[in-house]
Amino acid sequence: MSAETGDAGGRPGDARRGELAIAAVLVVLAVVIVALARRIEPGVLTDPLGSRAFPLALGAAIGLCGLLLAATTLAPGRFAGGAPVFVEDGPVDEPAAPLLGRLVAAVVLTAAYVAAFEPLGYLLATPAYVAAILLVQGGSSLRAFAAAPLLVTGAFYAAFRFGLLIPVPDGVLERWLPW
């Protein structure tokens, strides 16, 4: 995993800044959790600990993890186990940068698919989604691009609707089906 995290690969300064940013995110997250936990209303029944204590403790512990992560990053020699290992000398295998455009497109398309899943119905939304994801990734042959959306949609429809007897959302197309 370290190769992906930038712990081992990349420049030491970048990795250190990355770790500090992660530590900061943890601390901010902890503050938000604690603030939200303090607003939890007491319930109808009571117990010695109450509803707030567990989330409050977890928030505090996450914050502590963030602070310790920052400390181990700033003074790596003082701790063991928490500090990232920086490669000081020699060439390093830089992990390839993610194709962010593709990733964002895939996330947006998946969100659109989920949003359209019930209003459009399974049979209309799924082939469109599969085709769009193929398009985003590129490299598919025309045959795969034409066949895959229909085959994937048909296979899962048959598996869920007839194999598992679990209904999928009905939309425009489903109204024309005989079953």
Partner: protein
């Protein structure tokens, strides 16, 4: 009910028509899924989860056990034939497996992988049965404080074994615990972190979260890093079983693989990948022909493949006896229980004995089923390997949405899945542990409710955790796990300083 009676009833139950078919289907999907690079055993299991919705809990678990066992073998098919590990655990067997393919002995290597994997799997399940039942007796003495201490200990132990950093592993686990507090508090009736949304009153769906963390994040990774997807050149292949004489020669490697797999499997978080590499090294150390390792040694295939499958039994010891999943795959087994309304934990064995016995029988059956299914399905695996990676990614993402929707016929679950898919991808990039987070989600309900019940029992006194020996011991061990890295670091620094300042020996 004696063990043999329980197992007898378990076998009767496991061989019921639909259950047996589900196991065959599970093994078949496991072998195919495992053969596809990028679909690890856990991802194959997460993708199979939606297909268990229509099944009862026992059948679902038996099917998932089949997927798990099948994926262990499936991963070795591309490793042996193409030098591409289908699953991380099969990376150890490719060193000699692919050499054997180059020497024209691929069929025999596949046969050794299949037979030795089956031997390892069956042996580990026998040991599992022998270990879980006595542990189950001990667990009967557990009360709320012990159960809480056990959950805390499990979490810190697994965080300590997180790959990138202990602190990130711990933070992941704590966040997983926090997620279980979302929704209606069952003890007081107050609402927590629902933000006025009725959909959040029942909490975060563990299955949707798991599918997102494992399967969706993996697909997002494949989209963002297409260079990580290997080019697959598929040829023809068949399987040839080893003869009895060959098996006699391989038995030391098989035995080493079984022992290593069991020991590593019992250790939470260590997993199949570590076990197969340790077994490979140990087999080479004890072999009469260590010089052949790396150059096409059958022992080099037998040992890691046996260990790979033997992990399953070891992994299930803490999972079934204590409710602590030792790996992603074991966590998915526990999530399947939650999905079917059964709360996993130390009392699983005493409350659902019949289910556990049927699972034991099912585990033995699926490991044996690997041989016929593995033989028949090889050609299908090669077809699956020909599937273009973009088509696979699109199909898996669509299945994730459909599957999570189908679990409760609500669109909230696919949204949850998507959020956790993005989160999982981010966690992977930044070195957090999805496995620790899932463990937190599985253990969270148990941890909080048992903590609060303990304090109700003690009228609010925290000394209850120190006056009960098992609880105190577990919490002491937890502190040890937390403090150990710091103390070890200080000692190492002192030793290093002393070595620098010490006068040279004349």
């Amino acid at each position: 009910m004696t063990v043999l009676e329980g197992l007898g009833a378990g076998f009767m139950s496991a061989f019921e028509g639909a259950r047996f078919l589900a196991m065959v289907a599970g093994v078949a999907w496991g072998v195919i899924g495992g053969a596809i690079p990028g679909i690890s055993g856990a991802v194959a299991m997460a993708l199979a989860l939606p297909f268990t919705f229509a099944l009862d809990a026992t059948t679902a678990l038996c099917m998932l056990a089949g997927v798990w066992a099948g994926a262990n073998y499936g991963g070795s098919i591309p490793a042996i034939l193409m030098r591409i590990p289908g699953t991380p655990a099969s990376a150890a067997c490719l060193m000699d497996g692919y050499e054997l393919t180059r020497q024209g002995r691929a069929a025999k290597a596949l046969g050794v992988s299949l037979v030795c994997g089956t031997i390892g799997g069956v042996a580990s399940i026998v040991v599992l049965i022998a270990m879980v039942l006595p542990l189950g007796e001990v667990v009967l003495h557990f009360g709320s404080p012990e159960t809480f201490a056990l959950a805390v200990f499990a979490l810190t132990l697994l965080a300590g074994l997180a790959e990138a950093s202990f602190l990130k592993g711990l933070a992941s686990g704590l966040f997983g615990l926090l997620l279980t507090t979302v929704g209606l508090d069952s003890l007081t009736g107050s609402l927590r972190f629902t933000f006025g949304r009725t959909e959040l009153m029942t909490g975060v769906d563990v299955v949707a979260a798991m599918v997102g963390l494992f399967a969706v994040s993996e697909m997002f990774h494949r989209i963002a890093h297409p260079e990580d997807v290997p080019d697959v050149m598929v040829g023809r292949a068949y399987t040839a079983f080893p003869t009895l004489a060959e098996l006699r020669e391989l038995w030391p490697a098989t035995l080493i693989g079984t022992i290593v797999g069991l020991i590593v499997g019992v250790m939470p978080g260590a997993g199949a990948t570590a076990s197969s590499f340790v077994a490979y090294n140990e087999a080479r150390r004890w072999s009469k022909h260590p010089e052949l390792f790396g150059k096409g040694s059958m022992e080099g295939v037998a040992a890691p493949e046996t260990a790979n499958n033997a992990v399953q039994g070891g992994d299930l010891v803490p999972t079934l006896a204590l409710g602590i999943p030792g790996s992603n795959s074991a966590a998915i087994m526990l999530a399947a229980l939650i999905l079917h309304g059964i709360q996993p934990g130390p009392f699983l064995l005493s409350k659902h004995g019949q289910l556990v016995y049927t699972l034991f029988a099912g585990l033995l059956i699926v490991n044996v089923l690997m041989i016929p299914v593995g033989l028949v399905i090889l050609r299908l695996c090669l077809l699956a390997l020909r599937l273009a990676p973009p088509v696979l990614v699109a199909a898996v993402l669509a299945l994730c949405v459909i599957g999570t929707y189908a679990s409760e016929l609500t669109i909230v679950n696919p949204w949850t899945m998507l959020v956790f898919g993005i989160l999982g991808y981010g966690m992977r990039l930044s070195g957090f542990s999805a496995a620790a987070m899932v463990l937190g989600m599985v253990l969270g309900v148990m941890a909080e409710s048992e903590l609060r019940r303990s304090l109700i029992i003690s009228h609010g006194s925290w000394t209850i955790f120190l006056t009960r020996p098992i609880t105190a011991a577990l919490l002491f061990l937890t502190v040890g796990v937390l403090v150990y890295p710091v103390v070890f670091g200080v000692l190492r620094r002192r030793r290093a300083r002393r070595a620098v300042t010490a006068p040279p020996i004349a």
